[in-house]
Subunit: 180 residues, 2 copies
DNA sequence: GTCTATATTCTGATAGAC
DNA sequence: GTCTATCAGAATATAGAC
């Protein structure tokens, strides 16, 4: 792992602050302090607070592409990959989860954030539809993933029933993806 | 309908601003302006910004109780009531939806908000479990409702597949709630 | 590339008139 | 109960040294 650039350290700090304390606590000073740089140092990399939002949007776009690519190549299949990775919690530090949780904190505050988040969920919905024959089943599984993400953002621990839930849904979807 | 008190007009304005522009745009001045009162007038009813948060938490608690009571008495049954009322959109002005959407904007910003929202989803989960025999089925339906709410908060229109989705899930849950 | 110091604007909250 | 006027603190952003 290459040592993170100052720019990346700032973005990481920005995400952490969004997740742990919400948008109200995200001041340039607080982000700079957590990233270990001065306010001036931060502003060299991100010229305004808005530039931080732009950076977050760029990140979730890139990580989303990589994550869906990983799903396509996953030995367990796209559907199981989706359900298992939706069963996260707020403290998950996997890059795509961290960035997604941070982005969720800004929903409703920035139209561009809403667009990026809708794009993220839409892309997943398309991918699920490629791998599940019945559209209603795909819709159900997509909505459950969104629900699990929402619960994670609320600080709810993943349900102990999650493994069974995944198995039930997989049987449900596989039955319908078989020919005949 | 009794004419709304100034206090209620302020809370309504507070919710509207949270939903439409997010927490960053919610200043005492903006809330007062939308409610049609002065900043001083607002502060007579809510002595601080924090008091607005308290008011919102109180509201979602009361409306949640009333909504679940309505669900218990609904002729279509608790499960269908839950799924159909989860299929909302951000502009829904039914009181419980309006308040829930506003509350979602503050998730992660205020610990008391997170507690209140978890209480809200937990109470629904308990109620669903009273009416669905198989816990995994209850968990699936609960998660779907959360997912539909999350999508609504994102500004996604309710899925055109929603009616079919509800029917599939109801057959699924009813099959398991019959004795045998 | 990173820092300190400063200018400017905004926000929450108080005091007191009506 | 509602308003205007005002203040103290905080936040974004700029300027310029190193």
């Amino acid at each position: 792992m290459p040592k993170p650039s100052a720019r990346e350290k700032v973005m990481d700090a920005y995400e952490e602050l969004l997740i742990e304390q919400g948008p109200g606590a995200v001041t340039l000073e607080a982000v700079a302090a957590r990233a270990g740089v001065s306010k001036g140092g931060l502003l060299y990399h991100f010229g305004s607070k808005d530039a931080l939002v732009e950076g977050l949007i760029e990140r979730i776009g890139q990580l989303g592409v990589a994550d869906r690519e990983a799903a396509r190549n996953a030995p367990e299949g796209v559907v199981r990959y989706y359900l298992e990775s939706s069963a996260t919690d707020v403290t998950d530090d996997k890059a795509i989860h961290h960035t997604t949780m941070a982005t969720m904190r800004l929903i409703g505050s920035e139209p561009r954030i809403d667009v990026a988040m809708r794009a993220y969920t839409d892309e997943w919905r398309l991918l699920l539809n490629e791998h599940i024959t019945h559209p209603v089943t795909a819709e159900i599984i997509g909505a459950i993933g969104d629900g699990l993400y929402f619960r994670a953002s609320l600080g709810v621990d993943p349900s102990p029933l999650l493994k069974e839930l995944t198995d039930v849904l997989l049987r449900f979807s596989e039955k319908e993806t078989e020919p005949g």
